[in-house]
Amino acid sequence: MRAVSALLIAALASGCSGNQSALDPHGAPAMHVEHLIIGIIAICTVVWVLVMATLGVALLRGRRAGADNAKHEARLTMTVVAAVAATVAIIAGVTIASFYTTRNIGVPESAALTITVRGQQWWWQVFYAGAGAAPGFQTANEIHIPIRTDVHLRLESLDVIHSFWVPSLAGKQDLVPGRSNSVLLRAEKSGVYRGQCAEFCGLQHSHMAIMVVAEAPADYDRWAASQGGDAMTPADPDAAAGRAAFLAKPCAACHTVRGTPANGTTGPDLTHIGGRRTIAAGLMETTRGSLAAWIADPQTLKPGNNMPMVPLTSAELQNISAYMESLK
């Protein structure tokens, strides 16, 4: 216990070590909350130290025989009353600070960008609405947002309750079937911020991550334009063979690749999968090798997920992986 405060301070100081940390905020909502967190922890640490000091003295102090008992009790009563009053004051202060922070992290009336995130067992389906001439599009497990812009996320669920949580940008909010929740997302500087489902949602709750890519508005616009387009037809012969195999095998029954006959809706949209940073909801970096490993045996990498193990020859596997990788 002696090291408690030291540990805590060390932890707070080293908050920048991860990209999924409430103590490493890069967006206004998360920063407001971080200030509140540090403030409350500091107050509570002081309270705890004071109580412990009192405990220590109470237990170890020397005892004089024949002290004036009535006077002693009265003084104790005064002290306890004062301590309770101090508790009330501290509690009231913390409550008010909490109310102010709540006001600062609410979703504004009009946000520049609204994105719909729909949770499913165990991945995130993401819908961008079209703006003007640009068509709307669907993607999965990766959200791109322009920096220094308020982004309104509409959270829905298709099956069970999930919770959207990207700690560096904002606090979490549940995705509840039959309801639509909102959260404000905002990044102050560009970067990739990892988030993870925070409400227990079944077998693969552990592997349900989401990446939020914050980039300069110009980069964001370029990305959004490219996402709206159909998939490229591969020039590479391996990838072309992979495309044919993909369409002939059960893959196309569950996945959509826009611009091809593949229009399944059960699994994630794969139109631009090669351009995403990770596959299988943050399980692995997107490389041809990891794609092949995933397609070959999804139930070993993520037991219980809804992607079946499709029997493929090694050539088919290689080609399909090459095709997936080419879908930038």
Binding site: S21, I37, L55, L76, T87, G106, V160, G171, S206
Partner: protein, 636 residues
Amino acid sequence: MTGRDGSDSRDTAFNDAELDRRLASVWSTPPGLWGILSTVDHKIIGRRYITTAFVFLALGGFLSLLMRLQLAQPEARFIGPDRYNQIFTMHGTNMMFLFAVPVMQAMAVYLVPLMVGTRNIAFPRLNAFSYWIYLAGGLLLWLAFVLDAGPDIGWFAYVPLSGPQYAAGKRADIWAQMITFTEVSALAVAVEIVVTVFKQRAPGMSLDRIPLFVWSMLVTSFLVILAMPAIVIASTSLILDRLVETHFFNPAEGGDVLLWQHLFWFFGHPEVYIIFLPAVGMVSSIVATFTRRPVFGYLAMVMAIIATGVLAFGLWVHHMFVAGLPRLGQSFFTASSMAIAVPAGLQIFCWLATMWAGRPIFKTPFLFVIGFVVTFVIGGLTGVMVASVPFDTQVHDTYFVVAHFHYVLIGGAVFPLLGAAYYWFPKLTGRMMSETLGRWVFGLIFAGFNLTFFPMHILGLRGMPRRIYTYQPEMPWSALNMFISLSAIILALGFLLFFVDAIRSARSGAAAPSNPWGASTLEWATSSPPPPYNFARLPVVGSLEPLSDHSDDLPVAAGLRVDRRELLVSSVVEAIPEARESSSGDSIWPLWAALATSATLIWSIFTPWAVVWGSIPVAIALIGWFWPKGVPEDES
């Protein structure tokens, strides 16, 4: 006492030795299997209850070690996701429903009748029934787990994950039905405690002379009576949704997913205080004894206990801060959740004042109380943190919360319980636990606990969610997780040593005198362990601390009959004797009733017709139970 003087069946007619002999023949449980199965002695049932609850503690602790083994390394494959989900569900369900609540109630079953100076608990056969039902519920859950059909939906069982569409098989049904078992047993005990405290107190023990432990159990029992119906409704609705297609939680048919969370937490939050308030009573008893003075601010303590009990029903929504509820409602629940820190703080200050003014004796039970203050204050302060909505949006469902509630439940309830075990062990078994081993137990558990759970605060703030069976190597959590897993071994060793000490001492510990600690409440006025009738002559209480005011010559009440089980009924406020009431004898019917009820409940998981056919054996058992005895119930 009014009564027919000169009757030779009254205790006034006998000297001490003859009285003991006669009372023993009336109150003793017959030896042998029949006696074991049919006893209604609150002490035997209480010991049985406590032992069973500690067995479940050991089993639940074993599960937590399995989880720590799996989490020690990233992407470990000791346990797959399916089994891991069962394990953490079992750990939570087992610890909350089969250990924490029952063990607190079990301590009350044993101690409250002794502390209020009566001969048996109210409704003794209901007491026997509640134990059998509890045992059946525990066996159901654990057998299902052994068969790989353990619930895998979390101890909170949120729909729709636990509902008909997403929880295949009987796993969720078993969970929900196990809840029914523990509900029934907890409600039964709560009713017994309330009636015992209100109507069976020794003459003169007016409301302001009740020991704090009894006060805390009284308030706890009211919490049980008021909170359990919510979970009865919740688990029954869930079973109906799953088995007979009702639509309580189906949004497509007008049901609501969040309804479950409201119902569950309307029970689930008071549940925390159902576990914590008895600990308040235990700490007060131990502090008073080991500082050689009464607890500072008796009235303030009682008021704080009652205030905690009332406020406990006003904060359930803080478990749902990220579910998307209206802002105004959240603000209200932030305020109420913060407010409960005030009575909790008051209790802490009163104990500190007691220690300040008293002369502490550092025996094992008192060491656990010190450990309790150190850790529970942390748990309480992190409770203030998670009561704040913005703070909670970052730490909800992370390891920060895991750390928080283990600080509250282990620091706030298990530490006092272990202290209480050392403190009341002589009264339970007639033998002392080892002081040397006790210090080791305290040291290991205190160090192991803090090393295990404190780092979890940091893990949570650094983004580690709860209920994940593994995490990826690139996350910066591996080192702390390994540290936690290693620390858990220290904690486990501490508990192991405790069990060794308890078993060894129960068989061959030093014999205990009737009042080994020099305590001042009534349970220490009788021998260790007490005779089957508790008190040969019922004590009369003239103060809050009857034993320290009359250390040698406790006044007694006389006039009870000794040719049948009889106890004294007194008035609620002043405890003025009102009547002599017969107390029921041993009976096998509670066991039959429990078996019939268990069979019906388990069968109903498979077909709704079980409720129809199962009601027949239940009815037969109840008819046998309530068959008139042909003796007058009471004599005023």
